[in-house]
Amino acid sequence: MERNIPILATGSGELVGWRDPDENRAWIRENKPRGLVDKRMSVREAVERFVPDGAYLALGGFGHIRTPMALIYEIIRQRRRGLVIAGKTAVHDIDLLIGGGCVKKVECAYAFGHELRGLSPAGRRAVESGEVQVVAELSNAAYQWRFLAGMMGVPFMPVRNMAGTDTFEKSSAIQIKDPWSGKPVILVPAAIPDVTLIHVPRCDRYGNAQIDGIPVEDIELARASRRVLLTTEQIVDDDEIRDHPQRTDIPFYIVDAVCEVKYGAHPTLMPYLYAFDEPHIQEWLQQAKTPQGAQAYLEKYVHGTADFSQYLELVGGAATLKRLEQIEQNKGRQT
């Protein structure tokens, strides 16, 4: 085995969200309650209490799947500034936050695009004008392994992707020689978001949460983060969680706020419950083509509404939501 491990290469990207594991352990010991505490509160209070200007923020779900939109709108409504966003498949979520003027920096695995729907005008405009700065690149797997290291309380994770590319060169990773195989291996630093927002179908008042369908990277992301704010379609009784303990994806002691917001992922897709509101997503993408259009959208739907329930009325209320439920819940029966 190698006794002296050389550093073979060093990425030049900004190191975002890394903390000394002992410093973070001490913070957790001091700040995360291990007792059952009722964490129910309004979305407004959750953002007021836990999302400061300049926070390193991560969004759960997958860009426009199970996206925590009610919390995102509230951050825009409260005009938070200078946020550093984990661009881990950031799609509709980051686009709105950038349009709202909340974002200063992005560490980018995937952002500024909407998958099959094309590139996002607001995000691109902000980066190309310099309003928003991309401070580092990495891949989707590399980002979620940064969260895995954060969750585990270790300083880094060895991985075998990104080697030989500019993605590595612009990342905050380094490359060393693996002491066992003697081959080059990349170390991605742990990432510990200041705040993570996650939307779930159900949880209890303490924050014990279940996710239906794919958890994507929310298991690791939630556990890596200092503050975790949940919105949930429904708050259920503690007994319902305890009847199926194998279904708990996020346990209460990592959760800081529980906000009951039915349809809280609109206009994104909530698996098994409601589909994308495609016309509404298209309305944003059309409006976002100009800065004035993006502002008009946000004035109407975010600043012009006091809370998420007013917003839901504005996008068509019960009729729209019923239509989206039918599309999602009939899936598979159409073809």
Binding site: E115, N140, Q144, I214, V216, G332
Partner: protein, 271 residues
């Protein structure tokens, strides 16, 4: 997610008297590359349709895997995102990105699909930025899962519907995802897993592979009506060609029927 942007669409020359569309031809070629009882990491768009076509024709046991956690679904209709609930409809597992990406890194995934804004002779691709990274002319979405596909899957298949001198570049502005990097042995020296890498590139003009000795792109087959001159005129870098180059097999009536069944509204294939 796996980048699929076609930011520089060009009008490809029409083929002579053909019944099928360019997108149908590309999809069928991609589909035929996928062997039965293998696994494929799927992105949205054409790769999804190619994989579904393979399942409904020659490869019923092809395992579809999605980076966001869907494994082995019975896809009811075309998903618009690799995390869409259609990617885990009647699936064998709805798991996490960590689980799927670990399977890729450990060697379970045979094929991966990639699209790109630009590609070079070694199959390296750029989906990050056009121009300077710090002062971009055009900001693209970045790696997403592309670097992971290109790093981990045993065989990477590229779909580029817009081959031109703007997309087949001598030097990329940014290498997002590794191809053969700079030639034989470069992937292994860089620290990537051994024995995997770019396999085929499918464009509106031809199908390409990579020369065994140089790892540079070479023609495998030309689409009907396309010449070697056409192929070279639409690339900044020289493309190798063997002495005899076959013509790509056009879509069969049965393949076209299945494609209409998979994408009845022409969302991806167009009409």
């Amino acid at each position: 997610m796996i980048a699929q942007q076609d930011s520089h669409k060009i009008e490809a020359r029409p083929f002579a008297k053909q019944e099928y569309t360019q997108a149908e031809l590309i999809t069928c070629v991609a589909s035929r590359l996928l062997e039965d009882n293998r696994s494929v990491l799927v992105g949205t768009g054409l790769p999804m349709i190619a994989s579904m076509l393979a399942q409904r024709s020659h490869a019923p046991n092809l395992l579809l895997v999605f980076e966001a956690g869907g494994i082995g679904p019975r896809i009811p209709e075309l998903p618009v995102s690799v995390g869409d609930s259609r990617t885990f409809y009647k699936a064998v597992a709805a798991t996490s990105m960590h689980d799927v990406m670990s399977a890729c890194q450990a060697g379970y995934i045979d094929y991966g699909f990639l699209g790109a804004a630009a590609l070079d002779a070694y199959g390296n691709i750029n989906t990050t930025v056009i121009g300077d990274w710090e002062h971009p002319k055009v900001r693209l979405p970045g790696s997403g899962g592309a670097n992971d596909v290109g790093s981990f899957c045993w065989r990477t298949i590229f779909i580029m519907r817009n081959q031109s001198t703007r997309t087949f570049q001598s030097k990329l502005d940014f290498i997002t995802t590794p191809g053969w990097i700079s030639g034989p042995g470069a992937r292994e020296r860089s620290g990537l897993p051994h024995g995997c890498g770019p396999y085929r590139v499918i464009t509106q003009l031809a199908v390409y592979g990579f020369d065994e000795h140089t790892k540079r792109m070479q023609v495998v087959s030309l689409h009907p009506g396309v010449t070697l001159e056409d192929v070279q005129a639409n690339s900044e870098f020289p493309i190798l060609a063997p002495a005899h180059v076959p013509v790509t097999e056009p879509p069969s009536p049965e393949e076209r029927r299945l494609l209409r069944e998979i994408d009845p509204r022409g969302i991806v294939l167009g009409r």
